[in-house]
């Protein structure tokens, strides 16, 4: 984005982008392997299964977000790639090589943890040089590589500081530089933005997106519980819940065509309504007939209807839903309307209303048939998850 405008005060080599090790330069361990593959990876702690038969492939150069609530197994999956947990069964591959039995320091990955874990006794430049020294990079190369990595995250001027003299966002950048300095094929990011405040977070998101454009060969596994981060950054999202992979697809697929109730409610907001299929293209919400694409669902089957709140309109129209207003929230540019339709809660995000309806008054909402998605009822253990 602002690649041209970034200052370049350091005497960095002509090739500013440290991607795969350039020929002629000594690499830490052959060419850094890119791409991750989980093959039936199961992890349990004392009989408690925290990751259940995970099968997932992250292509070289792909950003995969592991999205899920806490305790869903997403961090465990990342730690299995890093080598800090040993799978009870299954294999982990990095760049096609089985690394399941390798200790963390032989895996050649880059990792950024939630707390950054910058070494407090080392200056910024020594923090970044740490991995290079550990990989026995020739001494003469180290200063150049450190400068390069710090340059990449815009921290070149802070090389002589100690971590305690940096703000949270700056520490974050240094942690990323430290992970990238060893030119890993795989970068693991464990909730990297959760320790930052909201404004810094959106800035860092843009920064991470830029970094990925500059390092197109690096596979990134990004663990987060924040759907905005996942939707913004990821090429694909793997949705995790209760130790299992629930769904995997591009952000657009998951948002537009979620396959399970859990995905629908976790990736963006969703109205989930229990319906019965009454015919080809028609369902019933109780006695209320609605027109939606039914796909292969057979008449008589129960299903869950999913409509995004911002696709619900106010007033009469196709698929009208009449009910009473239970809550009105003003959110600046929008109003969120909560209504009770035949005992089912329905949310609508509407452009700011001049005269929002009063609580308890009758209201009519509608949605276009093509905006609705029919999900198998109660798919993938989603009890308790509702709009």
């Amino acid at each position: 984005m602002s690649r041209a405008t970034r200052a370049t005060p350091t005497p960095a080599p002509a090739t500013p982008v440290p991607t795969a090790p350039a020929p002629g330069r000594s690499a830490p361990t052959a060419p850094a392997p890119s791409g991750i593959r989980f093959d039936g990876v199961t992890v349990s702690y004392g009989g408690n299964v925290v990751l259940d038969r995970l099968d997932l492939t992250v292509e070289p150069g792909e950003v995969m977000a592991l999205l899920g609530p806490s305790g869903s197994g997403k961090t465990t999956a990342l730690r299995a790639v890093a080598g800090f947990v040993r799978p009870a069964s299954g294999r982990v591959f990095l760049g096609g090589r089985d690394v399941t039995a390798l200790p963390p320091h032989r895996r050649g990955i880059g990792m950024v943890v939630q707390s950054y874990a910058l070494f407090p006794h080392l200056k910024v430049k020594d923090n970044v040089a740490f991995g290079l020294k550990a990989h026995r990079t020739p001494k003469a190369e180290i200063p150049g590589r450190v400068a390069e990595a710090l340059e990449l995250v815009g921290m070149a001027t802070y090389a002589e500081r100690h971590p305690r003299e940096l703000s949270g966002g700056q520490q974050q950048r240094v942690a990323i530089a430290r992970a990238l300095a060893i030119r890993p094929g795989v970068l693991l990011l464990d909730e990297p933005l959760s320790a930052l405040d909201a404004r810094l977070r959106s800035g860092m998101l843009a920064e991470l997106a830029r970094l990925h454009r500059e390092l197109p060969d690096v596979s990134i596994l990004y663990v987060t519980h924040d759907q905005v981060e996942a939707l913004t950054l990821a090429d694909r999202i793997a949705v995790m819940d209760r130790a299992r992979l629930q769904d995997c697809g591009t952000p657009r697929e998951l948002y537009r065509r979620p396959r399970t109730e859990f995905t629908a409610s976790f990736v963006g907001n969703a109205n989930l309504l229990p319906v019965t299929v009454t015919g080809d293209g028609s369902v019933g919400l109780g006695d209320r007939p609605l027109t939606v694409p039914t796909g292969t669902a057979a008449p008589g089957a129960t299903a869950t209807l999913c409509v995004r709140p911002h696709l619900v309109g106010l007033g009469a129209g196709p698929n009208a839903l009449t009910g009473t207003v239970t809550e009105v929230q003003w959110r600046g540019s929008t109003h969120r309307l909560h209504a009770d339709v035949d005992g089912h809660p329905v949310m609508a995000d509407l452009r700011e209303l001049r005269e929002p309806p009063a609580l308890g008054t009758p209201v009519t909402l509608h949605f276009a048939p093509e905006d609705a998605v029919l999900l198998p009822a109660g798919a993938a253990g989603t009890a308790g998850v509702g709009p």
């Binding site: 880059g110 990792m111 006794h121 740490f130």
Partner: protein, 265 residues
């Protein structure tokens, strides 16, 4: 500050001084006064002199001070190495092994030092390991006595160490040895130095086990102080005590300077 009102603060200070002065300050001041006196028949000593200090810092006494310093430094270094090593090892053990090590290293604290002295004496008075009559038996006993403290304080620091640092280092490709030398030990440096100070101070003052073990050519200063007091030369003893106290404090101050520079957090 916990106490906010002015009166409350004054009251707190008053209670503190009331407890501190008679318990800590007066005895030490009395020793200092006695070391400078020639007579002490009334309430206060009389006939100020510095002659005793001349004696206390030369000849046999100087020899004893050197003996004490060498013993304490050697014992502290050994104790720190053994205790620190054990504490680091304990951190990677399961609960059972950890409990066993904890129990093992509390033994020298739990057992009276006289008993430790006797045990060392009996154990090393016959071949194959004949240490009795050499300086090594004194150093050995001191090491046994202070290792426990080194273990305790390093173990506490290891428990507080954020495992994220080790994992970050390993993730960057550092072998376990590199993680130990470049990350864990530097981060533990403040506790290692404070443990060293503690070991040194304890060894400098150790008397009961030393009494049973010291050979004639290896007399630490506390033994000299005891001997002087025992034969009635209280003022000589007091001067030696002040020398012992000052030396120990100077060394501790130097160690704490290292610690301040080493504490990064």
């Amino acid at each position: 500050m916990l106490v906010h009102s002015r009166a409350g603060k004054w009251a707190t200070w008053a209670v503190f001084l009331l407890l501190f002065v008679p318990l800590f300050a007066v005895p030490l001041l009395v020793i200092l006064a006695a070391s400078l006196a020639t007579h002490w028949s009334g309430a206060f000593p009389s006939g100020p002199t510095v002659e005793r200090y001349a004696a206390a810092t030369s000849g046999d006494s100087l020899q004893a001070l050197t003996t004490s310093l060498v013993t304490a430094v050697t014992a502290s270094v050994l104790a720190l190495t053994l205790g620190g090593w054990a504490a680091l090892a304990a951190a990677s053990l399961r609960t059972r092994g950890k409990r066993f090590l904890d129990a093992l290293f509390i033994l020298p604290v739990a057992v009276p030092s006289v008993v430790v002295g006797l045990a060392v004496l009996v154990a090393y008075s016959k071949p194959p390991v004949l240490l009795n009559g050499t300086r090594w038996i004194v150093i050995l006993a001191h090491t046994v006595l202070v290792t426990a403290f080194a273990y305790q304080s390093v173990a506490a620091a290891v428990r507080r160490l954020d495992p994220m640092y080790e994992q970050a280092a390993a993730g960057l490709g550092a072998s376990p040895a590199r993680v130990l030398w470049r990350v864990r030990l530097p981060l533990l440096l403040p506790s290692l130095t404070s443990a060293a100070g503690l070991c040194f101070a304890l060894s400098m003052g150790e008397l009961s086990a030393t009494m049973m073990l010291y050979p004639p050519d290896w007399t630490p200063l506390p033994v000299q102080i005891f001997a002087a007091t025992d034969r009635g030369s209280l003022f000589t003893g007091a001067a030696l005590a002040v020398v012992l106290m000052t030396t120990t404090l100077l060394v501790l101050a130097a160690v704490s300077r290292i610690r301040t520079r080493a504490s990064y957090r």
